[in-house]
Point group: C2
Chain length 288, copies 2
């Protein structure tokens, strides 16, 4: 089977053996935004031609490829849902020469009945070795999911990553910021500030005044802002003394693990290949 | 005397009689960002030539003209401060043919000892008829000030206005938004949402999901986002059952008054000419 994590900006594919072993892996900057004229079939054929010619007849796709802007819109499956529910709700996509199916995204309602959605993260969570616990998938739209008996029971999204990018690119806070590696001391200061009383909208102005007062260097202020946002997210999303499984690239995962520990939780960083394992597990269940 | 509220993007000037009566008023898009080569004297002369030729020999300037990016940096005066303290701390600016002075901005420390600053708002507050109470000056950087015995005792800033602009212009939330007058029903929904449990970073993602679910029209989502941010600001900044004096343009003042009432406070909208009265009062005290 071929499994593809097809997101907004990236295309990651794996070839699996019968037992779910990874026989090959590749990645390309062919996210759905790069697909012209809606010809997703051509991109899939181009990226995986050798595997298809080698005899693969099953392709499982997860991520934004199943959104309104993707190949075909796969309706959201309501929580609670796990591998079994996902496997029975796959959406077939017409394709010459192979059976192609989409993993649906998940929907939920938050505590105030406001809708929640995810696409792609459900497959990463399906790839974790987590029967019961909290999974955190930081990013543009950070997801915090509660897993119960191997199924995603509920989840909430935080706009932290995209808010950071917008505050940095489009406000006076970003005007002084300089690029560079994360300054951990400044990240920790932002984290600590997030733990103090006061609203995020007030704390944000402090990024400016600390800079004006010479108490925060231009080289450090992006890391401080990052700590501030991550700290606010974790303070709101994480139950007290929780153990959290983080799925992210190593650098971002390390920052979240640091922040979770600072707020009294503990964290384990999952393999970034959780998406591959999730695809293998869902496919195995669907086609067994 | 001539008084000028000289901000980042606008220049507003008044000519005052001996008793503080306004003899003339004008405004131009000649904020400090428009002043080339630092020649503030030329802009002042050009905007007020008739008044200067008519014999005015005293000019009082307030606002960002006293910042590092302005004519001359006037050091911040620490709170508590009122008309008397501002009048004795004016900063003279060299100018041929008239005595020109800058009103200093104010500094404070918030409850966690993080610096706070304002420039221009102190002059607007000096123009209010408010001996004791709360003043709210909404905008890019909303100021909430506590006035005691006619002096600004403390204040806090909220980044709401600039956050709104950045979220609207630089995130996926803004991509669906359409221009138009404020949709009060949507503004109220955002306000109500801000009063529910849950962090702003989570509530922001709801702007997206409510849109996806067909529960928030594209025409309404900017007003909903505005209500969300204003509601979060007021929920954090306003003491319970406070009476708040608002200084803003009429449309923004009406939205804040509505939001303050919805959160259990009450509001009075001050004249938008508070800056003029503040300049007249500070000048009268300084030159009497």
């Amino acid at each position: 089977m071929i499994g593809v994590d097809w997101g907004t900006t990236s295309f990651r594919a794996w070839r699996f053996g019968a037992d779910g072993a990874v026989l090959g892996a590749r990645a390309a900057p062919r996210g759905i935004l790069s697909v012209s004229g809606g010809d997703f079939a051509a991109v899939l054929r181009e990226q995986c031609s050798d595997w298809l010619e080698g005899g693969e007849r099953r392709v499982l796709l997860a991520g934004m490829v199943g959104s309104r802007q993707g190949w075909l819109e796969a309706p959201y499956l309501p929580c609670p849902a796990g591998i079994a529910e996902l496997a029975t709700a796959l959406v077939p996509v017409p394709f010459e020469g192979a059976e192609v199916r989409l993993v649906p995204g998940l929907s939920a309602r938050d505590r105030q009945n406001v809708p929640e959605v995810m696409r792609g993260e459900e497959t990463q969570i399906a790839g974790l070795d987590l029967a019961d616990g909290i999974a955190c998938l930081p990013g543009s739209h950070s997801k915090w999911a509660r897993v119960e008996a191997g199924r995603i029971a509920a989840f909430e999204t935080y706009f932290s990553g995209e808010a950071f990018a917008a505050l940095r690119s489009a406000t006076i806070l970003g005007r002084m910021m300089k690029d560079g590696p994360t300054d951990l001391a400044a990240f920790d200061r932002g984290l600590a500030r997030a733990g103090e009383p006061g609203h995020l909208l007030h704390h944000l102005f402090g990024v400016r005044t600390l800079g004006l007062a010479g108490a925060l260097a231009d080289e450090a202020s992006a890391s401080y802002l990052s700590g501030l946002l991550v700290g606010h997210e974790i303070g709101a999303a994480m139950p007290a003394r929780a153990h959290v499984t983080i799925v992210a690239n190593p650098e971002l995962a390390a920052l979240y693990a640091r922040a979770i520990a600072a707020r009294g939780g503990s964290a384990a960083v999952a393999s970034p290949e959780a998406a591959a394992r999730g695809l293998a597990r869902i496919g195995e269940r669907a086609w067994r």
